[in-house]
Subunit: 182 residues, 2 copies
């Protein structure tokens, strides 16, 4: 254990979870920070579609960021989408993660957006994700976002933040607001 | 109260607080999101200095963002800095906020970075900040970051997220890491 701490004197696995606002926005801020340091970054996103978040319009114009979007239509919003199709798309996203780890582009940060949701809703198992996390070299940082991070993932992560909702206007009936929520 | 809810059917005041990572990065992600919607944004930052965060290198190159930095040398890191000087700088930052609200640039988002810390450490009082918040029109969003947000501020905010530390490698003796923490 001490040896492992010594070798991994480094934050490899970061988790943004919880029921509050800020999981995705913090990951996007983190991408910007890493790009500001000249790092190469890979963003692999589930469930949102390529044009969902307004920040994507800017991020995708920046050099050194590669952006991949899978399973853009989540069954919660699109009940006609077969769950097996969502599962296949999530497996493709996982495969993209495995490929990114070995890529000649030498990413220093890989963001797995909403992968916690994929596990919570059983489109991916923790074991499937863990088998790829096992291959992450110690010079690559991985951020996984989404509410409901599995306990095993929290246990193996280096840095975990719970974005906790203290107060949210959705509870007063105000709907998601352009420019703030997406 | 109902009338006020009706007029302000809108998220005006957002707070990112708590002891975990993600308060600043979420605010920076939020700035990117708002810029992606074509909004004009004003970032007023305390205690960090203009080159502290790597994301600033990119943000400041983007159109429609104005960036102001005050009290760059926090007494925690620079004990030789007189506290009265820090107080004066914080008052200038507050004045900048008041000016930004009335600016012809018509900002739609104003971010007050680390203002919670300024109140916690008594460089600003809650009443001083509140007197300016009272003048925020309902078409401008304000985000205030920093741990230890005063209770009165939480009470009047529309959306509050606590970034809660579940696990952080600082506790294992690992220091702040370039590209991830700054």
């Amino acid at each position: 254990m001490l040896v492992e701490c010594y070798i991994r004197s480094f934050i490899v696995l970061l988790i943004n979870t919880g029921n509050g606002k800020g999981k995705t926005t913090a990951a996007m801020g983190q991408i910007l920070r890493s790009l500001g340091r000249g790092w190469k970054v890979c963003l692999i996103q589930l469930f949102k579609g390529e044009a969902f978040y307004a920040e994507q319009k800017i991020l995708t114009t920046l050099p050194h960021l590669d952006f991949y979007s899978y399973a853009p239509r989540h069954p919660f919003c699109f009940p006609e989408v077969p769950k097996q199709q969502v599962r296949r798309e999530c497996l493709k996203a996982l495969d993209r993660f495995a490929t990114a780890l070995k890529s000649k582009k030498r990413y220093q940060l890989i963001v797995l957006e909403e992968f916690n949701i994929a596990m919570r809703e059983k489109y991916l198992t923790y074991r499937e994700l863990a088998s790829v996390i096992d291959t992450v070299p110690s010079n690559i940082h991985v951020i996984i976002t989404g509410r409901g991070a599995p306990k095993q993932l929290i246990a193996r992560a280096d840095l975990v933040t719970e974005m906790k909702e203290i107060k949210h206007p959705f509870n007063k009936g105000i709907t998601a607001q352009k420019g703030i929520e997406f």
